[in-house]
Symmetry: C2
Subunit: 314 residues, 2 copies
């Protein structure tokens, strides 16, 4: 059945849509028509409204968007109920056939990185039994610790057919403060990290020539996307920063190859908040909410595929 | 009552012990005399044995060790029960008067970093009410995103009198792969990050001249400890890597100033696994276990304070 990176690319090709839907369930995003169904007195209130919101988003797009990216920070934010919702959201999306990319960005010394990796993409020994803790296919990793912090994740990528995306050039405005520093060999830090990732990735290359070890490269830095596509020919990109953060479709296309492959583009706020009426006042129906997301998902797909098509011909 | 950094240093001075006890409750560390008390069939088994283990460790040292450092990875490892234990461990240690340093090493773009910071050291809005999610005093942060990823934490440091330790030079063997790279101005990445941290810290300086914004510098790199102590005169160090990882007391002393202040040294395995008999076979009594930890804690205190005293005179 191939590597996880092949399954991801298969789905992207099948749906002709290189989009991953971010699932960042801030309570203020959740429509009143959901909140009204549950008592705020109930212990399960936060869990219930997050789950219903996420299921609604997933149900609405799983036939046209190949993957979801729950950002764990927005589940940790709500404590234990939030983490329960994280777990059940991963399972729900996975059962719907979506590839689940957990955005955890963990990074630590070897023994601790191993704990993180085992938790999210490997298995954990509890009482003499190896258990899978979460239904996650791929996850994000921070490279600041060097290979010690990455190696345990690579082991689980190989051992359990999972994938990772290592932060190379992030989408935020101050990412250059560390990542753009030029080192003695003339390269920047992000190029140096990119070169390491390309090297680490060579062991797990799938049928499309891309590795299950990928990289995060922000849509907000088109020049770097172009440059890193050349520097890292076997590395698939997770591309955040489209839409709300300012990244444009024609910028993003620079991260793709001559076959129109090479990355998956994250959209969080632009989908979750697709409906533009006042979110707090909730002047819309469940159906209007649904339609707005679907419409934005199709619009984004159209915009991205058109730009990538143009890029192929360039 | 002063800043959190002052309360931490007050406690270190009062106990004459710059030690923080790591609380990494891997199930294989937990003695059988605890495990035997609970049914493995019970849903609360993992929560119960972690809590009893952590309470035992805390009860045994809270009068001689000023702070604890739960490494969140070893709680996430055990899913929801693990996270419940993390929360209740922070509260328990805090009630015992210990400073709680949550080792989370989060780093992300601004909006996400804000979620992490609000969760662990700030407050979270749930249903129109600002809630404190965890009883945590200080936390660790990853600098790869630049100031965007740090700023939300600095806001909560100021807003809620909390502290952070930003990763500068980590204790693991491959930390140099990124952190030691020399940039064009002749400085290394860790020096560059260190310079930024010193700058960021200047706003929150307490009565001892140290900031509530600190740095992580590994005991395994004595030369860098010496160098960074000079480069970052207002920055308090969280120093991991003592003992099991190879850092020696005389190395650690290089991170301290002429008043014998400047850092707190983490000990995880050396305390948690102080009893040297076969951990799996559990050929020891509860009392022997207790005594071994206490003895190691006092030995470590003695060794560290002696080396720091020598350093003061040097």
């Amino acid at each position: 059945m191939g590597l996880v990176i092949d399954r991801l690319i298969d789905k992207i090709k099948e749906m002709n849509n290189p989009t991953v839907m971010g699932l960042d369930p801030r309570l203020e995003y959740i429509p009143n028509f959901i909140k009204e169904k549950y008592s705020t007195e109930s212990e399960d209130y936060v869990y219930n409204i997050i789950m219903e919101y996420n299921k609604l988003l997933i149900d609405n797009v799983y036939d046209i968007i190949p993957a979801v990216k729950p950002q764990i920070a927005f589940y940790e934010l709500y404590g234990i109920p939030g983490m329960k919702a994280f777990k059940d959201t991963c399972t729900y999306a996975s059962k719907k056939g979506m590839i689940v990319i957990a955005d955890i960005k963990r990074g630590d010394i070897g023994s601790t990185a191993k704990a993180y990796s085992n938790t999210y993409i490997g298995k954990v020994m509890i009482d003499g039994e190896l258990k899978t803790m979460y239904d996650i296919d791929m996850t994000t990793v921070n490279p600041y610790f060097g290979i010690d912090g990455i190696k345990p994740f690579i082991d689980d990528v190989k051992g359990f057919d999972k994938g990772i995306f290592i932060l190379v050039k992030t989408s935020n405005s101050s990412s250059g403060e560390i990542q753009d520093l030029k080192i003695e060999n003339g390269k920047t830090i992000y190029e140096e990290v990119g070169t390491l990732v390309e090297k680490w990735g060579l062991d797990v290359i799938g049928k499309y020539g891309y590795s299950s070890i990928g990289a995060v490269v922000g849509a907000t830095y088109p020049e770097q996307l172009r440059e890193l596509r050349k520097l890292m020919p076997h590395i698939f990109f997770l591309i955040p920063g489209y839409g709300a953060q300012g990244g444009k479709a024609e910028d993003i296309a620079l991260g793709f190859d001559e076959n129109g492959l090479g990355g998956i583009v994250n959209a969080s706020r632009s989908l979750m908040c697709a409906i533009k009426s006042d979110l707090w006042k909730d002047k819309y129906t469940e159906e209007e909410f649904y339609l707005a997301i679907r419409e934005e998902a199709l619009r984004m797909k159209e915009e991205l595929t058109k730009s990538i098509e143009l890029r192929k011909k360039a």
